[in-house]
Symmetry: C2
Subunit: 219 residues, 2 copies
């Protein structure tokens, strides 16, 4: 009884995700699904990114959280259009919620759409939202064993961002372990070590964003 229902849910989600991607393609928008554990620095990185790319790339954000509009409030100070999606007890965003969120945005005024998923290293990985790319954050305090422990998330990454590298001064973290675990999952994935606090290597991330904004569609 159970398995067919799960399959139907996923099929319905995938069909909606495809519709979302077609709409985004039509509007010439590239969408990036941002995923990580809670507290890896998704919102802080997006705040900084939107400010630094102002005048160059027009950014919009859909942000998912169980409760509160705190992330949306933080992101709104950047001046970008932001829609908060509250999932209640839901552990990830789905394509239906993204479709609803897209209706609240002026899609003619956006080049890059960031979809900040619910902080969770498991469930978001299974749901296509209609994005073109997946960016996964891993922060130094979380530990260097997380790629091996959450392979489903990392094996679908289009870029992996190692955040809070300023904390590697006080915390023991084997970057080489993470690189090896990623290599075991994927032939190659861009891997950027950065710090928003110390403004380290942000240009590398912006370079990746510029490359996808100017690249061909994948959807």
């Amino acid at each position: 009884m159970k398995i067919p229902v799960v399959e139907n849910v996923l099929k319905a989600n995938d069909a909606l995700a495809t519709e979302n991607r077609l709409l985004l393609d039509e509007k010439n928008i590239r969408a990036i699904n941002i995923m990580s554990a809670p507290g890896s620095g998704k919102t802080t990185l997006l705040q900084k990114t939107i400010e630094d790319l102002k005048g160059e790339l027009r950014c919009g954000v859909l942000v998912g959280d169980l409760q509160t509009t705190r992330d949306a409030e933080r992101l709104e100070t950047s001046g970008a259009p932001v829609v908060q999606i509250n999932t209640g007890r839901g552990c990830h965003l789905d394509a239906m919620q993204v479709a609803q969120g897209l209706r609240s945005l002026d899609l003619d005024a956006i080049d890059l759409l960031f979809i900040e998923n619910v902080g969770n290293m498991v469930c978001p990985a299974g749901f296509d939202l209609g994005e073109h790319y997946r960016a996964i954050l891993l922060s130094i305090p979380e530990g260097d064993d997380k790629v091996a422990k959450y392979p489903t998330l990392f094996q679908k990454a289009d870029v992996v961002l190692l955040t809070k590298i300023d904390l590697s001064l006080v915390l023991h973290f084997r970057v080489q372990q993470v690189r090896e675990d990623l290599a075991a999952l994927q032939a190659k994935v861009p891997f950027i070590e950065l710090s928003t606090v110390k403004q380290q290597n942000l240009e590398e991330w912006y370079g990746w964003l510029r490359s996808i904004a100017g690249g061909t569609m994948t959807g």
Copy 2:
């Protein structure tokens, strides 16, 4: 169609959880479900706890992870009996997995059973495993907004542990905000600020464990 299936899954889980609790009660074991985001320090705290309580309380561990036996290997060095439960793509432990894990342990040789859940602040909260108590970890690097953002997890806590407080020297974290958000969810819950690295306030946590190991059953 969907809601009845979810209800049946939860009902089946709850029935098994009740069986697990009865078995634990019969064996005079107190079980604690340990939940947090990935990288909050669950395994490190348990390693230290088991070592420090050696000769006083006999500990056992069931540890859940999607993949790998890394946590179990770390915990085994403490000398305690440890069973690794790999959940595959499953985002939380369930009562069936715990029931299977219990069969691999000598229940006559355990006073305290730690059940280390999958690192995830959403899904584990919804599933009774048959535990008597729920301990929730929140680490300083995750940020002081997490109680408000993940209320479902924190409102069922029997004790909240603020971990990695040694990092409050380098990271801005408003402990008062966390205390206020907890107070808004629950009338009162024990709140312990600790660091395993600096060995701060571990005695407070051990005191709580002693109190439940000597207390009356709740199941």
